[in-house]
């Protein structure tokens, strides 16, 4: 197979895994935030680490959960960042070790508080790489807080508890989730009793980019035989199930009261905006637009971006370059057409200016072939249209 030879010679583009590495870098870049209550500096008990996807799914989650944790223990800080899972999954071991080392260093600098996680992938990786950290989950902390007032859900339909694959053998975490459900009087049924063989929703390994069909098949297989709505305690699972058409909740939806069963899956292409909003909410500030460019688009275009692994930030870079350099086309309807070479791909966007640094995005697409100057010596003609 040609692609195997190309991979071994490092001639295959990093795209689409590069998309996920960029997600990680953004979570550790302009979306990163550390919130430490001034009066508890140097004497923190908990450090809440929501992970890169919680705020990307719903920007309100991190702050809402942080407020609950502060009710349980005021000496709690929150750190919006990423554990490095995308680099681990793509095999970028040096990059992943650098992320983990930075995480460990920050944890030490904060006085080694108990690291409180919301994501089982974060837990799996930190348990494995940084065993001295000994993280716990937010579900265990909240379940053990007997005095914490939780909403009551009388008359709710029975939910199917879908443990994430990364919760393999994590019986204490499942027990904590069940305790929370019982305290909130939510009827539930455990979908897979055996915690050693939990199925994957299709998110793990970020296989969606290189093999969307495999990811979709995993999601479909997971939900196909269960009529009850799902309850997840991994936000990636929740979003995948919702995207596959399954009514799904995250346990934090019930604990915080933020969302109901009908919440659709958030667009992949807009998750970087969600992270920036999560940061703004945590800091009590206005959200800053990437490159100061505001994008407006309908759901169909956002889906187009998801399918192509093109983020809104990519499009902002494209528009910024086109508007600054003038290197773009315009059609008879006044639609702007421009392109931007990225890592291994060239993305194209069609857009229309709406106002001061505000643009309506109408279409996106990409190709991997790279335009070169001059004729090749051994050229092969692309077949005609």
């Amino acid at each position: 197979m040609g692609w195997k030879r190309m991979f071994s010679r490092k001639k295959l583009p990093p795209f689409p895994h590069d998309f996920w590495l960029e997600e990680m870098e953004q979570a550790r870049g302009d979306a990163e935030a550390l919130i430490v209550p001034q009066q508890y500096e140097g004497k923190l008990k908990y450090l809440f680490f929501p992970g890169c996807q919680l705020g990307a799914s719903d920007p309100r989650y991190p702050q809402a959960v942080y407020q609950l944790l502060c009710q349980v223990e005021p000496a709690t800080a929150m750190w919006l960042s990423c554990c490095g899972a995308p680099s681990y999954w793509v095999g970028e071991i040096e990059q992943y070790r650098a992320v983990q080392n930075a995480l460990h260093q920050q944890w030490e600098q904060l006085g080694k508080p108990t690291l409180v996680l919301a994501c089982m992938s974060c837990k799996k990786i930190i348990d494995y790489v940084l065993p001295d950290v000994q993280p716990v989950t937010v579900y265990e902390i909240l379940a053990a807080a007997d005095d914490l007032s939780l909403p009551i859900y009388e008359g709710m339909p029975e939910l199917a508890l879908a443990d994430p694959c990364m919760a393999r053998d994590e019986t204490a975490v499942r027990k904590a989730v069940c305790t929370l459900l019982e305290r909130m009087r939510v009827p539930y049924h455990i979908l897979h009793e055996d915690m050693h063989t939990l199925p994957c929703c299709g998110f793990g390994g970020n296989i969606e980019g290189p093999n969307l069909a495999a990811a979709q098949a995993a999601a479909k297989a997971h939900i196909s035989s269960e009529p009850r709505p799902y309850l997840a305690y991994c936000v990636n699972c929740r979003d995948v199930f919702a995207g596959a058409g399954k009514e799904s909740l995250h346990i934090l939806d019930l604990v915080t009261g933020l969302n109901g069963l009908e919440r659709p899956t958030p667009h992949l292409s807009l998750r970087r905006d969600n992270r920036r909003l999560a940061k703004a909410l945590a800091l009590g500030k206005e959200k800053e637009e990437c490159l100061g460019i505001k994008l407006v688009m309908d759901d169909e275009v956002a889906q187009m971006m998801d399918d192509s692994l093109i983020s809104a930030d990519h499009v902002r870079r494209l528009i910024a370059r086109a508007e600054q350099s003038g290197m773009k086309f315009i059609d008879e309807a006044g639609i702007n057409i421009a392109h931007l070479p990225l890592c291994g791909v060239t993305i194209w966007a069609e857009y229309r200016p709406l106002g001061e640094r505000t643009y309506q995005l109408l279409s996106v697409y990409f190709h991997r072939m790279e335009r070169v100057e001059g004729p090749p010596a051994d050229g092969e003609r692309v077949s005609g249209e």
């Binding site: 197979m1 040609g2 190709h367 090749p376 010596a377 050229g379």
Partner: protein, 62 residues
């Protein structure tokens, strides 16, 4: 009706010009709309998601 596109930088209509591409060591060429002044090449969505995508896949599967 064919879409009329001009180069925003030069204000000129595009002309079909032989254009060259490389896909990880594989060389290809095709006539594409191009600005006669600055050389910007326009790749349509139809071409990117049709012939180009198919050719990329064929080369990867070889």
């Amino acid at each position: 009706m064919e879409r009329k596109i001009i180069c925003a930088l030069c204000g000129k209509s595009l002309e079909m010009t032989e254009t060259f591409f490389d896909y990880y060591g594989h060389h290809l060429h095709k006539d594409l709309p191009c600005c006669p002044s600055c050389g910007q090449v326009y790749v349509s969505k139809e071409l990117a998601e049709g012939k180009m995508r198919n050719t990329e896949a064929e080369l990867e599967d070889k």
